[in-house]
């Protein structure tokens, strides 16, 4: 865009272009797909956390009218290889799509019934008889490390998947030179992502052309295709993966699942389209979980509150099998655990442990919420120990504005940042001194008000390809193609795969402004490997910073070509031209212009070819980021605890976020709101609970507490804007910030309210009973 032309769309609250179809019931999610002759597949799942399978009798099920096939692990043994983990790990277990010989967690698939519809397939499951011998179960990762713990994968001799250590800076010296060392244990409990649309897949096999089409509710259709190709031994050009409308992902739809493999395999085996739709109980038991990290922290500090280093030991619960990125997530937590603070030295040890549970994997934030929780709880602990103000302790230790780009102890380089203004703004919004005074007054009358503060920084826009594991298919780059059609309307193909984030709108905003056209003249297409060039997908808040940057590259190539054509038509050098209001015009005098359509006609018609210029208007961009972006901000809340019941009530919730340049404030707010809700859910409500027999006690939404509207506060948002120097758009990413900032903020607030009782730490979720018990104990003491 030429200087002087005001962007029409970028920066404005443009209504979403994906909405008209979604608010009228015209979205097509995977369960909405119907193909002639389509069959329904339903999985039979293990009721045991750990058991030997003696035998499975499927004869009665097979005889039920309407049943087409029943398969067990034996039927795929040797035909389908192990499922894949892309992240490096030392001990990687064999992971069959249907259990063979043993089941290792409740919900593991042991058989699949295929029938004319789901009712009949479900009837078939009731007729399958499995003879199990229950085995000892281990669900506590710390106990799983003990010498006499039952071993989940016998070939490894113990339950350790991976042990890894990272050390940087002079941590030992920091420990020696500290006035005191603050030690504590933190638990990031296990969560279930619960996208409102469960998973699902539809597969269609054409035996004539040996071509597989798979619709799946996935966040990364290209990655899925690459991994499926490997497991199914099919070439990638004979496979088309389509992510139709996807009803939320939050990380859990990045994994390549046993059911996706099985659905494809069954379609090929039976020569019939097959649909598998996950039920919510399956979703809670067998869709990858999140978090589940126990941390032992040691923070060497000076008496004035200066932090000298950070040391942590991680016990990472891996569940029974490693999923696509399971072993990678805790690493992010370690790399980012020093937060927005000057911490010259750090060290962390990761112990990844098998248990009889579902595997965790990426879940909104994937490692950064854990990291931020460590950093922020550490700050609160220091403040508490040294009797300092929690806001001031943060201010004191912030990486100063002048230090950016700042390399932190783990080696990561923070692109840009200015942490104090965000903190100040958040404090101003809650009227910090006043609310502290109210708190003091309230305490005199048995009112327990707490003020929570969390200053976060996170890593987005993954990222330089070397940051991803070597065995990961696809890189950290992203792709885009832009095509100006013969009528001068624009089609954009993006390699990211949005599922609620709104890039059909934000990308159209970018393109419309760059090309001086209307937003309705742009259509953004995504999620189909047969249409869109390879892309890595949507996760880690990378859609706009990486995908948008790729799009800008493609746009610039298109602009260059069109200017070149216009240049010969207008007899003006290309570098003096700009796009304006449906024309290509002289930047110095916008009235000297020709309509875009004439340039398009010239290009497509090619009747008077310009030497060196090919016909057509189709350009692609592949953008490899040179570094990651690091959004930041401060969240602050005011809560009140009912000391009789332990119930937490929100009085205020303020979020000040800095996600760099903002393309569409409406979308950014939406992302922040949703993120905060999920973060509060971790702080107060949600927790996946297995009992010691490996039974999942939170197996339905009757027991797993996804927050309702009444359980969440009214969010007050503000922002600071510190553009990222990394990408041409200056954007940082905002998909996970809310989740990362809110969890520690709320915990900080509740614990602040409980300070008069001498309560220093409580594990999440801060349910009423936990708070009530702590108060009871304190009152007794």
């Amino acid at each position: 865009m030429a200087a002087g032309i005001v962007p029409k769309f970028v920066g404005s609250r443009v209504k979403r272009r994906e909405d008209p179809r979604l608010i009228s019931g015209n979205g097509t999610y995977v369960d909405d797909i119907k193909l002639p002759g389509m069959l329904a597949a339903v999985m039979l799942r293990s009721p045991y956390g750990h058991a030997k399978i003696n035998s499975i009798d499927v004869e009665a099920a097979k005889k039920l009218p309407g049943v087409v096939a029943v398969l067990t692990g034996e039927d795929i043994r040797g035909k389908l290889p192990t499922l894949i983990t892309a992240a490096p790990a030392q001990n990687v277990p064999y992971h069959p799509a249907l259990a063979q010989d043993r089941v290792r967690f409740v919900g593991e698939a042991v058989a699949v019934a295929v029938a004319i519809d789901q009712y009949t397939a479900q009837d078939a499951l009731d007729l399958i008889e499995v003879d199990y011998d229950p085995l000892p179960v281990i669900t506590d990762p710390e106990k799983a490390l003990e010498a006499d713990a039952p071993v989940i994968h016998e070939q490894f001799g113990n339950n350790i998947s991976t042990r890894a250590e990272v050390k940087s800076g002079e941590i030992d010296r920091a420990m020696r030179e500290a006035d005191r060392i603050i030690k504590f244990r933190l638990v990031n409990q296990r969560l279930a992502p619960v996208p409102m649309e469960p998973r699902g897949a539809v597969a269609q096999w054409n035996p004539g052309s040996e071509y597989l089409t798979l619709w799946s509710s996935t966040q990364g259709p290209h990655l899925l295709r690459s991994y499926l190709a490997e497991v199914l031994k099919l070439p990638e050009h004979r496979m088309r993966v389509i992510a139709p409308e996807v009803g939320g992902g939050f990380g859990c739809k990045l994994n390549v699942y046993a059911e996706e493999v099985m659905t494809a395999y069954l379609a090929m085996l039976l020569n019939k389209p097959v649909k598998w739709i996950e039920r919510r109980r399956e979703n809670l038991a067998t869709t990858t979980h999140g978090r589940d990290l126990i941390t032992y922290i040691e923070a060497p500090v000076k008496n004035d509150g200066t932090i000298l280093g950070l040391k942590a030991r991680f016990i990472c619960d891996m569940g029974a099998y490693l999923q696509l990125l399971t072993p990678m997530v805790p690493g992010f937590a370690g790399m980012m655990m020093t937060g927005c603070y000057k911490v010259p030295a750090m060290a962390f040890e990761q112990l990844m442990v098998f248990t009889n549970k579902m595997a965790p994997d990426a879940y909104r934030g994937a490692g950064r919420p854990e990291a931020c929780f460590i950093a922020e709880r550490t700050m609160d602990m220091i403040a508490l120990e040294l009797n300092l103000d929690p806001a001031e302790i943060r201010r004191k230790n912030f990486i100063p504005k002048e230090a950016f780009p700042a390399q932190i102890a783990s080696g990561l380089i923070y692109d840009s940042g200015d942490y104090e203004p965000a903190l100040d703004l958040a404090l101003k919004h809650i009227d910090y001194p006043k609310v502290r005074a109210e708190q003091a007054e309230g305490r005199k009358h048995g009112r327990y008000i707490g003020i929570g503060i969390c200053s976060y920084v996170e890593i987005c826009g993954i990222g330089p390809s070397p940051m991803l594991p070597p065995s990961m298919k696809g890189g950290g780059w992203e792709s885009a193609t832009i095509r100006m059609e013969p009528d001068s309307k624009v089609t954009v193909l993006t390699g990211v795969s949005p599922h609620g984030q709104g890039q059909e709108t934000s990308f159209a905003q970018l393109v419309a402004d760059e090309l001086g056209i209307g937003i309705d003249d742009v259509t953004v297409v995504h999620g189909d490997t047969a249409i869109v060039q390879y892309g890595t997908g949507t996760f880690g808040s990378r859609g706009t910073s990486v995908g948008g940057a790729a799009l800008m590259m493609a746009v610039q190539k298109l602009q260059a070509k069109m200017k070149k054509i216009a240049s010969t038509m207008m007899e003006v050098p290309p570098d003096q031209l700009t796009f304006n209001n449906g024309t290509i015009a002289m930047a110095s005098d916008l009235t000297k212009s020709i309509p875009l359509q004439r340039v398009v006609d010239a290009s497509y018609g090619h009747k008077h070819p310009i030497p060196g210029i090919e016909p057509g208007l189709n350009e692609a961009g592949f953008y490899e980021p040179t570094a990651c972006t690091f959004p930041f901000g401060t969240h602050a809340c005011v809560v009140e605890v009912d000391a009789d019941t332990g119930v937490v009530k929100f009085l205020r919730y303020v979020a000040v976020d800095d996600c760099g340049r903002i393309i569409n404030p409406l979308l950014v707010e939406g992302q922040v709101h949703g993120g905060i809700a999920q973060g509060i859910a971790q702080a107060l409500y949600e927790e996946v609970i297995y009992d010691e027999n490996g039974q999942l006690l939170t197996a339905t939404l009757m027991d797993y507490a996804v927050p309702k509207a009444e359980m969440l506060p009214h969010y007050e948002l503000d922002s600071t804007v510190t553009p990222s120097p990394i990408n041409p758009l200056g954007v940082k990413g905002v998909g996970e910030a809310g989740t990362i900032g809110s969890t520690p903020c709320v915990v900080s607030g509740v614990l602040d309210a409980l300070k008069p009782f001498g309560i220093k730490n409580l594990d999440m979720p801060l349910k009423p009973e936990k708070i009530w018990r702590a108060i009871q104990a304190a009152r007794k003491a």
Binding site: Q122, D123, T645
Partner: protein, 289 residues
């Protein structure tokens, strides 16, 4: 999500329904709002072979006044109880309890008869019906009988209803003068059912002492109950903070409390005491004198 097979029968009248119950015996279940039964059938935790749908039976639905009593038909949906003008004006506690059940959609389908018959230990209605000393009418092909709320709830998911009987209605005495009420509920965060629910109704005499205190507790034990010690502790007393606190401290007396991942027995008991205190206070504060 996919119930096992059964045969569906639509009853045209109570008589019709009773006939079908007799015909199919133990294989049959009544279907009213379906909001307890169908969820179990979807998970195949219940697999009846015959369903007798009474939701459309006109004589079972609605609120009427009859000889100074208010009678609510067994198949009256929660929303109609919550919004009915007679109930709101004369039986406010029941309206308040009904409006605390589940959510709008649940209240648009679920019925009072189904709720009482199902007798979920975490259901709301039982607390209200106990506090209001409702009378439950049961009909069978051999006749009808009336069971007092006190005697109706027998044990976990068990009531005084005998096989072949239909709960056709519940009748209540309207609130007397100088009466206040409150229903307080500590919701289980996921399901929305009551971890503890306290229905309290207080009538004061002309001097401002407690003439009658009625409390119904749900969620705490296997079945809903009236904490006799709470009620009697306040009888005839001036309801000051101290007296209410002392009385409410007995809310969990003699009960074997439920315990689950959402609340342990200890915590449930404490919630019962705290909410009993608060419900009585609120009831008194609402008395119009």
């Amino acid at each position: 999500m996919f119930p096992a097979s059964f045969q569906y029968h639509r009853a045209a009248s109570v008589k019709d329904a009773l006939g079908m119950l007799q015909q199919f015996g133990d294989d049959a279940k009544l279907l009213s709002g379906g909001h307890s039964l169908l969820p179990m059938m979807k998970l195949r935790l219940a697999q009846p072979t015959h369903l007798v749908d009474i939701a459309g039976v006109a004589e079972l639905s609605g609120v009427r006044e009859e000889g100074g009593k208010i009678v609510i038909g067994g198949a009256t949906i929660h929303d109609n109880v919550a919004s009915n003008q007679i109930v709101r004006n004369k039986l406010g506690l029941l309206a308040e309890v009904a409006s605390a059940i589940g959510d709008i959609q649940v209240r648009n389908r679920g019925t009072i008869g189904g709720s009482l018959a199902h007798s979920d230990p975490a259901a709301d209605y039982p607390a209200g019906v106990l506090a209001l000393e409702g009378e439950i009418k049961l009909e069978s092909s051999s006749g009808s009988r009336v069971v007092k709320a006190q005697d109706f709830f027998v044990d976990l998911l068990t009531t005084a209803i005998k096989p072949g009987e239909i709960l056709t209605g519940v009748s209540f005495t309207p609130h007397p003068a100088r009466t206040g009420f409150a229903y307080l509920k500590h919701r289980q965060p996921a399901s929305g059912f009551a971890i503890v629910g306290i229905a309290a109704m207080v009538t004061l005499d002309a001097k401002g002492n407690c003439e009658r205190v009625r409390v119904g507790v749900t969620g705490l034990g296997a079945k809903a109950f009236r904490p006799a010690a709470v009620e009697s502790a306040l009888a005839g007393k001036k309801p000051d903070t101290g007296a209410i606190g002392t009385a409410a401290a007995h809310a969990a007396d003699g009960i074997d409390p439920l315990s689950d991942i959402h609340a342990s027995a200890d915590f449930r008991s404490e919630l019962a005491r705290v909410y009993t205190r608060r419900a009585i206070q609120q009831a008194i504060a609402r008395i119009k004198t």
